[in-house]
Structures are given as C-alpha cells and as structure tokens.
C-alpha cells in the first residue's frame, strides 16, 4: 500500500470488501471460503452492490482472486438485475403516492 492518500471508487471498494471477507474466511480452505463468501454477500449486500460485483466479475475477471470470483459466480446464478420497483413503491396508498409527485 502506498503512502498516498487513498480515495477508493465504489468499484474499488466493492472489490476490496469482497477480497477482505475472503481473506477472513481463508483459514476454512478454499471450498468453504467460496460458500461462506457467497452466503455473506447474499445476506448482507444490497442488490445493487451484488449487481455491481457480478458486473465486475464479468467485465474485469482479473480484478478478483479465484475464491472471490468463484463466490461471485455462485451469487450471479439466479440473479436478475435489480432496479426501481414501481409496483412496490405504489403499494403505498394514494396520499403517499400523490405527495411524491
């Protein structure tokens, strides 16, 4: 790590976070690391973050270590890109909906 001030981009941070989690699971051995990491990302990451890490894995596969890449691959199975969910938003009653306007 250099001594320069570091400001991470969101992408860098997500990669950093995933790698950091993986390093903390590393003592479990690679298989269990992949499982644990995938579970962790599923449980604690917001959908957009998940989408982002999946996109990173797709676009920049070299930026992820093998266990992280494997875990993200597992995460990617069965995920559809998330976005605004108007139906859910509109589930709030009319007054709220009007207010938002």
């Amino acid at each position: 790590m250099s001594d320069e001030p570091h400001v991470m981009s969101t992408t860098q941070r997500l990669v950093y976070m995933a790698e950091q989690i993986a390093r903390n699971f590393a003592a479990l051995g690679e298989d269990r690391t992949v499982t644990a990491l995938a579970e962790h990302l599923t449980s604690y990451w917001d959908p957009h973050m998940k989408d982002q890490i999946v996109a990173i894995a797709r676009d920049h596969p070299d930026s992820l270590s093998p266990p992280v890449a494997a875990a993200v691959a597992r995460l990617a199975q069965g995920r559809t890109p998330a976005g605004p969910n108007p139906a859910q938003f509109n589930a709030v009653d009319e007054v709220g909906h009007c207010d938002a306007g």
Partner: protein, 948 residues
C-alpha cells in the same frame, strides 16, 4: 408522583446465608435474614431509629451514635447499625433512657452547627434537621461561645455542587461514598478529633482534586454541606419522576427531581437495577444541554446548503420532507433514499424510523450508529451463541473471580459499571486488561490489574488466539462443558487451528509486542481462576477484524465453560444509551426487529400483514455504502435521526462528499450538528426529558424513559416521525409510545412479554421476555445456547491494510473520556467542559522527544486520509509508537484522520488503528479553517418572524 425521599433502611441487606433469625423489636416479632442489622430490621418492621451516619448503600460505620438501642441482657447501648440481629433478641428502640442519650449526642452536634436553617438551601430536606426534631432537642446548653468548625470558606469550584465545611457533621458518608460506591477514594478526613474535616485529595478544592464528580458524596450528605448548585438556585424539589439516563449503555435509572416545571436535580434511583443507586458526572449533572440556548426549537428548510436556514412551521417542514422523499424516489427509484436510526432515541422511535424506511420508503436502506460501534458484536455473538447481545446482567460481575477487560475503558466510558467492577476487584477478583493503553483499570487507587497486555493496536485476534493456544495446548479447557454445550467437531477444528505453533504467544510476541510469558500467565488465570467474565468495548469492535475478535472472545468463553451462569459470560459494554435497543428494533439493513433476516419469508410475511405492504426481501445499504451510492449518484435522500455522522463516522472527507452529493438530507437533532451543515431540512428533536419511551441497556434491560417536561420543540421525536410517515401516507395512529411497544411485542418474539404495564410494575425487563421467559432473562444461555450448540469459529489473524511506514510511523487509536460523551453534542453544552475543554493527543515521552514536542504544544496529526491539529499531552499511558486522542470536540476533527478501512463482516470502521505522523504545528489545518468557515456559513438562520 409526588416528592418523598427514598426509604433508607440504614444498612445494606445482609449477605444471603439462607438462614433467618427471629427477634422482638419494640414488642413486635420480626424474622430477618441472618446478619441483618438491628437498624435495618427495625426499619423493615416499621420502627424508625434515629440515624445520621448510616445509609443503606454503604456499610455501617457506627460513628453518629444516634441509633443506640437497648438489647435485653446486654450491657450498654449498642449501635443498631453495627449490631446484627440474633435469635431471641429483645430490642427496644424507644425508651426514655435512649431519648436522653440521643438528645445528648444531638446537643453536641448542634453545638457545632450553624443555626441558619431558615436560609439554608437544604431547609426541609435535611437529615440533621429531621433528626434534631426526632430526638426532641430543645436547647443547646453548651452555648455557642465554644470552639466550632464554622466560618470556613465554601468550596464552589465544582461546577455542579458546593461544599460548605461549616455545615459538615463529619459523618464520613461522603468519604465512604467515594470509596465504597464510586471507588475513587478522592475524599478523606483530614486531621483528627475536633479538627476532623472532609478533604478532597490533599485539602484542595473539589475541582482540582481526584474527584470525578460522580455526585455520590452529594447524594450521601445528610446536611447542606454538599449540595447541588441547582438546589441552591432553585430550591428543594417538590416532585420526582423515575426515568432512565440518556448517556451511555449502562442505563442508569434516575429520579428526576422537579420543582414545578423546573428540573432541580437528577438523583440516581436506588431501585435502579442497572446502577443500584449510583451515577456518573454525565447522568447526574450534565443535563443542562436540554435547556441550552443552542437548541433548535423550530423546523428549518433550505434549498441548498449554501443558503441560510429558513425557519418554517411544522406543517411546512413535514410536508416538504415527505414531498422531497417522494420526488426523489419518483426520479431515482425506490432504493434512492434511506434512513439512519439513532441509538440515543427510544426503542419506540427507532422502531418507527425503520418502519418508515421499510414500510414508507419501500426498501431496507436503514442503518444505525451501531454500524460504527457494535455491529461486530451483533454479528459475532449471533454466529457463535445465537444472540446479538451480551450474556449477563451487570450484577453478575459481583460473582466474577477473574475479569478480563479487552479494548474497553469502563472508568471513562461506563463509569457506573466500572465502579461496581472496581468494588468486585477490591473484594479480591483478579483482573486482566488487554489494551494498548495503560487505562485507569490497569492501575489506579486500590485497583491493580494482575496482567496488562499492552498489545499493538490491530493485533487483537492474534492475541486472543494466543490465549486460546495456551488454554488448548495446556489442556485448560472445560471438556465437559464443550461436549455438552458445543459442537465437539467444530471445537476440534478450532483447537487444531489455535494449537499450531504459529499461534503461540511466543510466535506472536514480535507482532503484538507483549511478552509471551505474560500472555501465558493471563490465559492460565482466565481459564483456571474460577468464574471468568469478559467485558469488552470498541477496542474490540472498531477494527478490520472486529467481528473476528468478538468471535475469538466467544470461543475463549466457550472453551473455558464460562457461559451460562452468573459471574461469567461475554459482555459488550455498549456505547450509547440505546444502542442495544436500536439494534434490537431492526435498525440494520438486513434484518427486522429481533434479528431476523429480511429474506426470511415467514418473518417478512408477519410484517407485511401487520403493515399492509409488500416488503423488500433484499438487504439494504449500510451507511458507508449509502455514501458510496450517493457519490455515484444513485442515493439522493436520507433521513437522519439523532446522529452526527459527519463528526462520528470515519474519513470525514468521504462522509462530506457523500452528503454533498444528496438532494435531500433531513436531520432531526437537538442542535445544528456537523451533519446539519450538509442538510436541507432540519427537524428539531426532543430530549429524553421531554418524552416517554424505553431504552435497552447493555444488559438487555428495557427501562422506562418518562416525560418530565413538555418538549420545547413542540413534539416528541416519535411524534415527528409519525408526522412524516403520515405525510407520506402511511396512516399511523399512535397516541402513546405504549402502543408502539405493543406493536413491537406483537412482531418480535423476544419482546413478546414486554408491555408498559409490566415495565411500570416491575421497573424493567431483560429480553428475551416472552412465554418461555416470563420474567425476562438476566443471564442468557443457561442450560444451552440460543442457537442450539455453541459454535467455535476459526478466527485467523489477518493484518489490517492500514500499515505504518516511513511517512506514517505511529499508530493512532481513539477513545473517550469520562466527562464527555461521544461527539460531545450534549456534554460540550454543559459545564463538563471544566474537566476536558479540548481533545488532546496523548503521545509517549520518547516519541515526543524525537519530535521536539513539549506537553501542551500544538501538533499536526496527519494520516493518509487527512490532517488536523490539536495539542499534545505527553504521557506514559500510551506505549512508544502509539498515539491516542478523544473525538469529543468538532474542532479537532479526529475523523478527518481516520480511514475508511472497516470490519470485514460489518463495515464497522477501523477507528482504533490509523497510521499517522505527528509534527510540531502552529495552528489549525487548512481543512479545519475551511470547515470552520463553511460551518459558520451553514449555520446562518433566518428566524420564523423574519421569514414570513
């Protein structure tokens, strides 16, 4: 409730032996536990024996000689406070002879006491006055021409209370309170005989003495010798309301003593189960912020942060808030806004904020300040034990034999609990302290740690694993416990892991900087010294391996069988008054109240049914991720209740950039805090004195907060959240927080039995309180772990990426000080600044010398994240290579320095490890200057009248 003094039985309850004795007191038969004093027995029987030196939160002393009684068959007149009851004893407490003796003693007292009762501040609330009446003293035949101790100068140095030695009766209650209750030993009696005088430290004034201003002496004083300045100013109270302190996670119960609508004083309540009648300088005295002129009482809005604030009506402010959030969501999507709940607000308020986010915002973007303190506790204890909370009640410490304190400084951070811990240590329990700093617990009057392991910041996991290495390799573990309570295979995996030579104390000695032999000795003591209790704080959690450290602690406790009974356990010392509650209430983006994951369909279904909406099954954003998303343009609005993330969260530049990128920042707070500099809407908050609700302390104890005065801002915080919710169309209709608690109980299995009527009746409840545990749960995991089998988790030491190097050779760690609380928003607005007017950088003499620094010099503190300036305090409390500061003052901007490295599992910031350089300086940094000017600019307010 009307004003009446708390009943004082004179002496504490006897130490339980299970035996009881029957005696006769004034003709009445009474059966009492063996060891009870005659005085207490009489009081419990309804006979009131005069007394002055006795009070039931201290050991009997026997000095005032007013409580003499007659015991059949015994010569003389034994003091009832020091004489235990005996079977068949016949006691008379009211005879002519006793009256004569008591009058004789009282006559002596009054011969050396001013006769200015009518103008005395304690008139009507003075035990000496009461007792003089009770013994029927009518005349002082000694006259008043003799020697006296009157006419001595008053000591008014303490900002909160006065000491008038002229009114002192030398009962030593203050001295004993300082010793027995507080454990500071700041007071003594100077000289002897007639010249005996209460003396703070070496006969100096209170402020300059060792006194920590806990108020125990003032509470103990039976005259006006030690009296609160507020009583002098306002008069004696005429009513009292029981409520819970809003400072740290100890959760002290207080009597808020009022005169009319004015708060006269806060007196710790003896029945309070968390504090047992004790207090600290914050809860006892530092409540003046509630009336501080800086409080914002009108809502304000502005279009941009460069504009001055415009005061508006509540209606306008609420409508604007709702419309902004809806506008942003319509434009940027459902997940573009979120909220932050406050650990300082009540359970009910916190519950409402997360409900607002989940039900109203339609996402899970809710987080809480626990993110930056105890989120690793939640994660770690949940994984290992199955519950995101400490295992014990505070009383448990009195049964501990070995106390292991890791990364906590309770005498500053949790002073009331520290006093109990110190009491236990004085009774002979052994202490191990793992901390880079030489905290007061390591050595202070009458306390001496058996082992202090001054490890290098960032090596907690290595250290705890080394302790485990000793316990496993020396076979000090509790095999029966592990086989019965834990998963044996997991234990074996863990045991194999910790047994590797690389994890031995010898192997980590160069890394942690602690002598291996000391580590081994500490491990042996913890494993074999009887009941072992672990207490930890933010020095555990605020690391890149915070969660691992918590799990490593849990591993140690399980391996040694120190879980599931009194006197043992794993106990996080929670930072804020309601950080436990805020977490319990579903403030985290991945879970509902009661720690149930949002992806769990059954739980979600329960809430969906109750709230009439479909809920998001995906976790939301954590605070740092919200800020990232904001910087990326995907997160545009936030509702922040009672938290100052700009000052308290790490890497201020990152926080500021995130906030600046948002379109609507709503801050609800008492004051225009630092975060409000980036806000568009300000909703004035209410203090804990102005609302009803509950707080949950570090021992999972749910306690009542009661409104003692009307909110100056017009609404309690829960009402404000409800207004916002309803403006967003949620149709809430809570009339009282009790209804919110009913909803919490209905939706949260661990809270199923928690209702206001029970809290009123029982004072408090410790969750889980439900059908399985109708009276609550003081000690958890009795008989079995909540998750089933206790889980050993392998915790590998992964060094932080924040590393020292040539440019940043020192490690900065941060903490707090007794007189201040967190970012200081409250305490800085009280006279507590008398003790700590500024943050100082503690630096070891050798590091200071290398840099040519003298004590008090201004220094620049620089990290990779930023720089700030503050003054140096040269001390051997910190080891060479380590510097330390507090973060109570916004001027210091300590978090400009801290980086955004964080815990791998929870993103709890790594506040405790920052590589820094320190150099001489002549003034504030550029950032500090820019910031000060921007803050000034941002705090301009156009008042309501002018705005109209």
């Amino acid at each position: 409730m009307t004003f009446s003094r708390e009943t004082d039985h004179g002496t504490p309850p006897a130490i339980a032996t299970g035996k009881s004795v029957t005696l006769t007191i004034d003709g009445q038969s009474a059966t009492m536990p063996e060891g009870t004093s005659i005085m207490r027995a009489a009081s419990l029987t309804g006979c009131s024996i005069p007394k002055l030196c006795a009070t039931d939160n201290m050991e009997s002393f026997g000095s005032c000689r007013l409580c003499l009684v007659e015991v059949e068959g015994r010569a003389g007149y034994p003091a009832s406070c020091t004489t235990p009851v005996a079977d068949g004893m016949v006691v008379r407490t009211q005879t002519d002879r006793l009256k004569q003796l008591r009058r004789g003693v009282m006559e002596l007292y009054i011969s050396d006491h001013p006769l200015d009762c009518l103008t005395c501040a304690a008139n009507g609330d003075c035990e000496l006055q009461d007792q003089a009446g009770a013994v029927g003293l009518r005349d002082v035949r000694y006259g008043y021409d003799g020697a006296t101790n009157m006419g001595q100068a008053k000591d008014q140095s303490n900002p909160y209370f006065d000491f008038d030695p002229s009114k002192c009766i030398v009962c030593s209650r203050c001295v004993r309170a300082c010793e027995e209750v507080q454990g500071t030993f700041a007071l003594t009696i100077e000289n002897k005989g007639f010249e005996s005088k209460v003396s703070p430290s070496q006969g100096e004034d209170f402020l300059g003495s060792e006194c920590v201003s806990c108020g125990a002496c003032v509470q103990a004083c039976p005259t006006a010798s030690l009296i609160e300045k507020k009583v002098v100013e306002i008069g004696t109270p005429d009513r009292a309301v029981i409520t819970t302190c809003a400072y740290c996670g100890v959760g002290c119960t207080f009597r808020a003593e009022m005169r009319g609508e004015e708060l006269v004083r806060m007196v710790p309540w003896k029945e309070g189960k968390a504090n047992r009648g004790h207090s600290c300088v914050k809860g006892r005295f530092a409540w003046g912020y509630a009336q501080h002129q800086d409080r914002i009482l009108n809502p304000m809005i502005r279009a941009s942060v460069s504009e001055p604030w415009r005061e508006v009506s509540w209606e306008e402010a609420i409508a604007h808030t709702a419309s902004e959030f809806r506008r942003i969501q319509a434009k940027y999507g459902t997940r573009s806004i979120g909220g932050i709940t406050s650990s300082r607000c009540t359970n009910e308020e916190t519950f409402l904020v997360q409900k607002l986010v989940r039900q109203g915002f339609g996402n899970n973007n809710v987080d809480t300040c626990a993110r930056v303190c105890h989120s690793p506790t939640g994660y770690g204890l949940s994984k290992t034990f199955g519950t995101s909370a400490g295992t014990q009640d505070f009383d448990s410490v009195m049964k501990a034999d070995v106390i292991l304190v890791i990364g906590a400084n309770p005498t500053d951070g949790h002073p009331v609990f520290a006093s109990r811990m110190k009491k236990r240590l004085r009774q002979g329990a052994k202490l191990i302290v793992i901390d880079p700093r030489r905290t007061d617990l390591v050595q202070s009057p009458h306390v001496m740690a058996e082992h202090h392991l001054p490890l290098r910041p960032g090596t907690n996991v290595a250290m705890l694993t080394a302790l485990a290495h000793v316990i496993v390799t020396e076979k000090l573990y509790d095999e029966a416990f592990i086989r019965e309570r834990c998963d044996w295979d997991e234990f074996q995996d863990w045991a194999d892991f910790v047994s590797e030579p690389a994890r031995s104390p010898e192997a980590i000695e160069p890394l942690a900087g602690v002598k291996a032999e000391e580590v081994r000795a500490a491990a042996r003591l913890y494993a074999t010294g009887g009941n072992g209790a672990i207490y930890y704080g933010l020095g555990v959690t605020e690391h890149s391996q915070g969660s691992s450290t918590v799990m490593a602690i849990a591993n140690l406790a399980m391996a040694t069988g120190n879980v599931g009974r009194e006197g043992v356990g794993v106990n996080p010392l929670r930072g804020q008054n309601n950080v436990q509650g805020a977490c319990d209430m579903g403030s985290f983006p991945h879970e509902f109240s009661g720690y149930r994951h949002v992806s769990d369909d059954a739980t979600r279904g329960l809430f969906e049914q109750a709230w009439g909406v479909t809920l998001d099954g995906e976790p939301g954003l954590r605070i740092p991720n919200m800020l990232d998303a904001a910087t990326d343009g995907r997160f545009k609005g936030i509702f922040i209740q009672g938290e100052d993330i700009l000052q308290s969260d790490p890497n201020t530049h990152h926080v500021a950039a995130g906030l600046a990128a948002m379109e609507c920042v709503v801050v609800q707070d008492l004051f225009l805090n630092e975060t409000a500099n980036y806000a568009h809407i300000f909703l004035p908050g209410s203090t804990f004195l102005e609302k009803d609700g509950t707080f949950t302390n570090a021992e999972r104890r749910i306690q009542m907060v009661r409104k003692v005065m009307a909110p100056l801002n017009g609404y309690a915080d829960w009402e404000i959240v409800q207004l916002v919710a309803n403006a967003m169309g949620l149709g809430w209709s809570y009339d009282h927080p009790a209804q919110i608690m009913d909803e919490i109980a209905a939706l949260t299995p661990t809270f199923a039995g928690v209702h206001y009527d029970r809290l009123e009746a029982e004072g408090s409840l410790q969750w889980p309180a439900n059908e399985a545990a109708p009276d609550g749960t003081p000690t958890m995991h009795i008989g079995g772990f909540v998750r089933g089998k206790g889980k050993f988790v392998v915790t590998d030491y992964v060094p932080t990426d924040e590393k020292t190097g040539p440019r940043f050779p020192l490690l900065l760690t941060t903490g707090r000080i007794l007189s201040h609380y967190n970012v200081g928003a409250q305490t800085r607005r009280t006279s507590n600044t008398a003790w700590h007017p500024e943050d100082r950088l503690e630096i070891h003499p050798s590091d200071a010398e290398n840099r040519g620094l003298k004590d008090g010099d201004w220094v620049t503190l620089r990290s990779r994240a930023g720089e700030t300036t503050l003054r140096a305090l040269i001390t051997e409390r910190v080891a060479p290579g380590v510097v330390y500061t507090t973060f109570h003052h916004p001027e210091t901007q300590a978090n400009v320095i801290t980086t955004d490295f964080s815990d791998w599992a929870t993103n709890c910031p790594e506040y405790k490890v920052t590589a820094v350089q320190v150099s001489a300086s002549n003034g504030p940094s550029e950032w500090q200057q820019d910031y000060a000017s921007q803050a000034r600019n941002s705090r301009r307010v156009v008042p309501l009248a002018a705005a109209e």
